[in-house]
Symmetry: C2
Subunit: 280 residues, 2 copies
């Protein structure tokens, strides 16, 4: 009986199978993903290391997507872009292999999800360009380190995410709404959170909104478009950050003939340290 | 006919009389106050220079007041303290003379306002210790320079100030509520204002609260305890900063036998530049 049979669908299963934990290195996690020992989400693993959203597109769309990221830096904080066809990204990890180091991928054809493989070696193409974008795990690490309570973490849920009525700046076929994540905080904690996340523009930076959700087109906080709802308690403000789901929504809107992303929560773990992202 | 007769009670009168403006130096303003040519408020004058709240206390109370400032740094950001009896403060201005360089003073006995002189040379005592505290003029300058709208400035009013239900940390006889100033801002501007004012902890720093006024004991924004009311428009949040009226309220609560403060808005203009206060 394998570990994953004993602990189905749990991080503990894979942590047990692969001996991974918050104190693992980025390389530990990548090697586990590469060997097939880790195929689940990476939240809480290798907590000191930057994790990234991944988008892999054919070269003929890559320039448009690059411009989309440059025009929308808060939801699309670009950490690295590969050369066409090159599955390596040495600036994020000396041995890094984009074909195998993400625990689970999503393959899309014409905007439809067609597969969720754990390895891309059989479908890799010489024209693919890989983009790695910063992820809120890094700033949540900084908020928690400062003692700020994050309800979705306390409750073991995914963060609540919403499509807004704020348009991104389009580039080529890439367009769509800004998607935001929401964390409820008391006012003094919200002010502190602005200060902390302002120091990490490479992982979404400061909030884009706080207070009345209707002002950015969110009708009902209890019904997020992605992730899990959490309560906003009396005396708390909902605080909204630009979210890495925004580029995925833009890719879905563009419906490219072929593209690959990471599966939600199954991030690329790099060799860069979260503390390197702090510009303060 | 003197200039002040032609333009009674107006900044223009004194600006005309003394040729002072936003581009004047701190020394220009101090020399005008020292010579009696300037006896009105200093808002808008010598805009690049740090202006300070002033409190002058007998030496037997000075240690308690110093501890009060150290325990409450957001409302009482201490820029300088004099030696007992010394009316100079060379770290704020080489020639600075605390007996004459504030355009108008207030003299208090047992908590009662007894005089509003423009010069202290006749009542100066050898046991007086002077405190100069940062003032929101500096951070408002930074907010305006970033393009943020400040309604009370647009409307030519004094900022609205409120006593809160947040207690300061007492020291000796000095105690009382935190007093806050309020500026209404749209959420994105409020977030930007947090970022900008976080960089200037020497002038009250980041806001202490935003959103629901009732959470800090303010019942009616339309009825400020000091200054002038301004409207909060739909889609705006009230944003609250610790205010330099807090130490004046603590002095009023302590009811010292003798003390001197600046008259509201009639600040000490120093030789230090606002941009020196920016720690970023």
């Amino acid at each position: 009986m394998s570990s994953s049979t004993r602990f189905p669908n749990s991080l503990e299963a894979h942590a047990a199978a692969s001996n991974l934990s918050a104190t693992s290195s980025g390389l530990d996690v990548r090697l586990a993903a590469r060997s097939g020992r880790l195929a689940t989400h990476t939240s809480g693993l290798a907590a000191e290391y930057v994790q990234g959203n991944v988008a892999i597109l054919p070269a003929d769309l890559a320039n448009d997507f690059l411009r989309f990221c440059q025009r929308n830096p808060k939801p699309c904080p670009l950490l690295a872009v590969s050369e066409p066809g090159d599955f390596r990204l040495p600036e994020l990890g000396a041995d890094l292999d984009l074909r195998s180091d993400v625990p689970r991928y999503r393959v899309w054809r014409h905007g439809e999800l067609v597969d969720e493989p754990t390895d891309l070696r059989e479908i890799w193409r010489g024209d693919l360009v890989s983009f790695v974008l910063g992820c809120s795990f890094s700033f949540e690490h900084a908020l928690l380190a400062d003692g700020l309570p994050l309800r979705h973490v306390q409750q073991g849920r995914n963060v609540a995410m919403y499509r807004t009525n704020v348009a991104t700046r389009a580039a080529g076929p890439f367009h769509g709404p800004l998607v935001v994540s929401m964390r409820p905080l008391k006012a003094a904690d919200a002010i502190r959170a602005v200060q902390i996340t302002s120091r990490t523009p490479a992982v979404h930076g400061a909030p884009v909104h706080l207070g009345d959700p209707a002002l950015i087109g969110i009708r009902d906080l209890a019904r997020p478009d992605y992730g899990d709802a959490v309560d906003v308690a009396p005396g708390e403000l909902p605080v909204f950050w630009a979210c890495g789901v925004t580029p995925q929504a833009a890719i879905a809107a563009a419906r490219p003939a072929f593209c690959i992303t990471h599966a939600p929560g199954h991030m690329l773990v790099t060799d860069r340290l979260n503390r390197e992202l702090d510009r303060a």
